[in-house]
């Protein structure tokens, strides 16, 4: 088992998961970069995104379920349209939710001590988990299998133990453009500039005529949209969604954000991929039950040894 191919296999899985973690981690890092609040509820927004995708997909495609029952693996053209609709709904839903959360639970606490918004965020996270329980129940729901699992390595005629499936590719196809679009948005557009200015110095930005409240809301909106996308993609990738996935995924992503240097966009990507691979390696070489211990151990070690993360500079320079 302990061959190089096995290692490569874990690497592929880790990379796909890592990109999902990255999408969620960006939400943490954007928000922290701009208001220095750990949006603890972010993982649960992601979870609700997955739930909303299930609902949309189930509403759209009873046909697809039939096809799965018939073991029909060939892709159908409409599915891609449905997936797009589900993606957009989930992103809009999560973005709205995140903006609402900011407005109701954090805005009043922005100027206070650092604890107050964190405690409020924990409260929101509990509320969202309960919403999840009411929505889809306690036991995990099955995601419709929209993405066929075709081994591309074998399809290319190479006989290898390593499997790179269409699912892995699908994750990359959705996540990479989103991350690139976000980076461009922050670096090139006027609104992105406003975000960077607000992150650097909120009061000065306000004096320069930037509506900081709106900019902060925009940040939550972007983070939420990415979490929504991650919700759909992770559901399709893992074929399951449960109300507790927000907490575990959220902590993994948060660890990724901290590891890369919280507030730093590139750091979130680096950390996300690293944590994804670390988790896959731990799953593969240790045991899945040890993975959370490894991840939280990493989180604690990073926080103790280098709280600013790998790419984090001084805390004054962010985003």
């Amino acid at each position: 088992m302990l061959t190089f191919e096995y290692f490569l296999q874990q690497l592929v899985t880790g990379l796909a998961n890592g990109m999902l973690i990255t999408l969620v981690a960006i939400g943490y890092t954007l928000v922290y970069g701009i208001v220095e609040i750990i949006n603890f509820a972010h993982g649960d927004v992601f979870m609700l995104g997955a739930f909303s995708s299930v609902t949309t997909l189930q509403a759209l495609g009873a046909q697809a379920v039939k096809r799965v029952a018939n073991k029909d693996q060939s892709p159908i053209p409409e599915t891609y349209l449905w997936l797009l609709i589900a993606l957009v709904t989930s992103m809009v839903f999560c973005a709205t939710l995140n903006v609402l959360i900011e407005r109701l639970a954090y805005r009043r606490l922005r100027r206070g001590s650092r604890m107050a918004p964190l405690i409020s965020a924990i409260g929101v996270s509990f509320i969202l988990q309960n919403v999840g329980i009411y929505w889809k129940g306690v036991s995990p729901v099955n995601f419709p299998r929209y993405i066929p699992q075709i081994d591309l390595v074998k399809a290319m005629g190479i006989d290898s133990f390593v499997r790179v499936t269409t699912k892995d590719v699908f994750v990359l196809i959705v996540t990479v453009p989103l991350v690139i679009a976000l980076t461009l948005f922050i670096q090139r557009t006027k609104l992105g500039k406003a975000m960077r200015a607000t992150a650097q110095d909120r009061d000065a930005a306000q004096l320069m005529g930037i509506d900081t409240n709106r900019t902060i809301a925009l940040t939550f909106l972007l983070g939420g949209a990415l979490a929504g996308a991650a919700g759909l993609v992770s559901g399709l990738y893992n074929n399951t969604a449960g109300f507790q996935m927000g907490f575990s995924y959220g902590l993994n992503s948060f660890t990724a954000a901290v590891l890369g240097g919280i507030g730093n966009l590139n750091g979130a990507m680096l950390g996300g991929v690293f944590i994804g691979i670390l988790a896959a390696m731990s799953d593969g070489y240790l045991d899945a039950r040890w993975t959370p211990v490894v991840i939280f151990g990493t989180l604690n070690l990073v926080l103790i040894i280098r709280p600013s993360g790998i790419l984090g500079q001084d805390l004054a320079e962010r985003a």
């Binding site: 924990i122 509990f126 211990v293 989180l299």
Partner: protein, 413 residues
């Protein structure tokens, strides 16, 4: 509830509050409350309330909240993994006393056989969890508030998982049972009938009630003494302004370390008793939600005020253990009364026990946004705050007031 702050040397900043005319009345009310609490098990038997079994864990949780209040309320450190220390305490006691623990194979017959005694194990639990608190705190207490909170969260996640995974020692998810019982006058708690001075008594769980009460009372006394001690004042100083406190010669790391360690040791005692009371412990009793519920108790009542914490604990725990169930029952009955099958079904689907998380979450959000100081605010903080701004928690941390305008200053790193 709280009496006027007593004068202690070195705390001259507070003016003695003149004798309150209400004070005598308060004293009488307090005496009645204490008498009620002490006599409760017999009243419970007499009137058949059947809430004793709910009261014991309730009081234990409140004691736990009092311990967390040292960390969160006095020293101002957010601890999201308090249940981990609770777990460490419970498992430490179980290790010494349970016949299933690996130590049970070594201890009997060895010169250390006396360690299997419950009271010794409880003291060990206190020491072990206090030590664990110091061990976690030592490298992490230099971190800023929110980062520290996440380290504790990570620790709180690691401990139950380690317990689950290290099966040979901890019995994994099955948990440890039975656990040694406390005893007094040769009489084991919770074992009936029990013979004291030649009388055969059927006490049920009553001894546990009094044990919890005594531990709670000792905790309250110890915490009040701690709060008024040099260390307690150092905690308050650090909480209110770390840099100023450092300037006054207080070592922030050791001071915080004491808060962490002492707070953890309270949970050790509670964990030992809780394990003995339930006779079984398993890792899922000590998960993140437990930490948050205890935190919720501290914050709801009034961070830093022990009476507030007790009130918050009482409210949350009585909801959790008594009212959630009964209210749900009443709602179901009300649904059945309407006679309409759809309404009955709709009412029956309503379950407050399922909404526990929702209630706690709402409680945290509302308290933080509407009344961050809690129901009963810390009196000392209120007094100092009068000269400052009304709500201390809302004062911008990074700015100073110059000529009426908020001017941001260089942030200390």
């Amino acid at each position: 509830m709280q009496t006027a702050p007593r004068m202690t040397p070195g705390r001259r900043a507070y003016v003695e509050v003149p004798a309150d005319p209400q004070q005598t009345r308060n004293r009488i009310l307090q005496a009645i409350a204490v008498a009620f609490i002490v006599a409760y098990p017999f009243l419970d038997l007499l009137f058949g309330w059947q809430a004793l079994l709910a009261f014991i864990p309730m009081m234990l949780m409140i004691t736990l909240a009092l311990g967390l209040n040292i960390v969160v309320g006095y020293a101002g450190l957010l601890d999201l993994g308090y249940a981990a220390f609770y777990a460490i305490g419970a498992y430490a006691a179980a290790f010494f006393t349970s016949p299933n623990s690996p130590l049970a194979r070594v201890l009997p017959g060895s010169p250390f056989a006396w360690m299997q005694d419950f009271w010794v194990a409880m003291i060990m639990a206190v020491l072990v969890s206090g030590f664990a608190g110091a061990l976690l705190g030592a490298p992490t207490l230099r971190l800023r508030g929110d980062y520290l909170a996440l380290v504790t969260l990570g620790f709180g996640e690691i401990v139950p998982r380690l317990i689950k995974n290290l099966e040979p020692w901890t019995k994994g998810v099955k948990g440890m049972n039975p656990i040694g019982r406390p005893y007094l006058f040769g009489c084991q708690f919770g074992v009936d009938p029990c013979e004291i001075l030649g009388m055969k008594l059927k006490l049920g769980m009553i001894p546990y009630y009094y044990l919890t009460l005594v531990i709670g009372a000792i905790s309250i006394f110890a915490i009040i003494r701690l709060r008024n001690s040099r260390l307690g004042r150092a905690w308050a100083a650090i909480r209110d302004d770390e840099i100023a406190a450092q300037g006054m010669g207080i070592n922030p790391v050791t001071t915080k370390l004491w808060a962490f360690s002492l707070g953890a040791s309270f949970s050790g005692a509670t964990g030992a008793i809780f394990g003995a009371y339930l006779q079984t412990i398993s890792p899922d009793q000590f998960e993140y939600s437990t930490s948050v519920i205890v935190l919720c108790m501290v914050i709801l009542g009034g961070t830093g005020n022990i009476w507030g914490v007790m009130l918050g604990g009482l409210l949350i725990q009585s909801f959790d253990r008594i009212f959630a169930e009964r209210l749900t029952g009443w709602i179901h009955k009300a649904g059945a009364l309407t006679g309409d099958p759809t309404i009955t079904a709709a009412f029956n689907s309503f379950d407050l026990l399922k909404s526990r998380l929702l209630v706690f979450g709402l409680c945290l959000v509302l308290i933080m946004n509407l009344r961050p100081q809690g129901i009963l605010p810390n009196r000392k903080r209120r007094e100092t705050a009068l000269t400052d701004l009304p709500e201390e928690d809302l004062v911008p941390e990074e700015s100073v007031l110059i000529a009426g305008a908020d001017v941001p200053t260089e942030k200390p790193r």
